[in-house]
Symmetry: C2
Amino acid sequence: MKEYLAARQKLVDEALDRLLPKVTLKPKTIHKAMRYSIFAGGKRLRPILSLAAAECCGGSVEAAMPLACAVECVHTYSLIHDDLPCMDDDDFRRGVPTSHKVFGEGIAVLAGDALLTFAFELLTLAQGWPRYPIREIVQELAVAAGSRHLVAGQVVDLESEGKKISQSLLNFIHESKTAALLRSSIRLGAMSANATPAQLRNLSDFGRSLGLAFQVIDDILDVTQTTEKLGKSAGKDIAAEKATFPAVVGLEKSRKIAQKLTKEAREALRPFGKRAELLLGMADYLLERDY
Amino acid sequence: MKEYLAARQKLVDEALDRLLPKVTLKPKTIHKAMRYSIFAGGKRLRPILSLAAAECCGGSVEAAMPLACAVECVHTYSLIHDDLPCMDDDDFRRGVPTSHKVFGEGIAVLAGDALLTFAFELLTLAQGWPRYPIREIVQELAVAAGSRHLVAGQVVDLESEGKKISQSLLNFIHESKTAALLRSSIRLGAMSANATPAQLRNLSDFGRSLGLAFQVIDDILDVTQTTEKLGKSAGKDIAAEKATFPAVVGLEKSRKIAQKLTKEAREALRPFGKRAELLLGMADYLLERDY
């Protein structure tokens, strides 16, 4: 699985390098800032899931790639804006200084804006499919990234700082902030393979469960791991009085929830039989990670 | 012309009210913030130009409306982010407090993000046209709003503060920051009328000249008008040592440039004959405005 992920990461990195505007393009600052954050050591989890979902439905890496890269641009934009002083105020991400520490706050805001916009430009490189024309593809990403999902999660997260919140509100935050885009990356991959409605439904369920499991584990790692290992400030959630699973339901119950979600994710893949092997392998890998 | 603009403004306002997520939708804060800035007294210049361009090419207001509203969402997002303390640091816009003064910086960043994302969702409501399928429509807006145009202008504007810059760099800023989106609003309107390539070319030229004229006049008004009349802080450009036409070439030459650009805009419309009357009227109106 580690080798597979490394090979896929390389493929995605090469595609991003080919597709993103060159740094020689005017104004250089913004293209440097866009590339700085895109190539700041991301694991490419979301695009790799897009590619694996496409293959699981009989599609190809080539057809899924523009969509996979678009999701990574949206993910990176959201990290740049989340790290701003007026949001989570983070100086490090993936072990390197965050965009606003390197380029200043103004350029960091604009680099996020530019990456979000570029994601939609990337979608227009997709070929379009009988069941999923470009209209559906754009709608899928716009809804997942918009005020009812990705942005919604960050809003409620911001508003919950320092407050005691319920497990259901915490679920809303995690579903919006993490699961929605992760689910969408899997759906977009499936769409690029012209998936049947049933296939798309099963993969959506998989994506939602995996996305939630992923975020619960992220919360757990924040309290159990070191800054060095995580590549970002450990214990930051507690210091900021962030809404996290360990804070709301305790560490032990958080672990159980993550295991239950991973089980649900595996079950959603059952109809695919052997074709889901890669996605199953990734689910296990994500549950067992320690960074 | 004033009556026409008021009637059109009302049409656009009604469409935006119908299309934007309701404030009752969770999380309320973000939908309140999105609507606050959208309904903070904008003149709807860009969407009205979209509608007029559509009609000039034999299209309809109904078909152009989702695209017109999408452009207004992009315009409003760019104002919210431009007004942030880390950018132009403006407390007032269109006579009312800016988003970050009302909702705080974090929510203001997210409201901009949400409006930008929503603009692309709006594009998917368009019907698509033989010469301009949804793919072309999305590409048009993504390129105009992206790192080579709208965002590029803001980047160079930020980098030029307090510096002496050349007239050609100032032109680059104004072309990117103002003319690109204004031109695109006209192009999108024309596309919704399935315009011929020649019609689209002529309207593109019109849009570019009008957009530049509009920004030069904006620069002039900043030094000649009062804060009360403008609805935003007058003299702000000088105080911030902003790159403006009066600062670079003087007030008298700025006025001549604006007139020359408006003449070029009028000439680009000649092939349309009487059908361009509304667009011509708007061009004159914009040149002669004093707020």
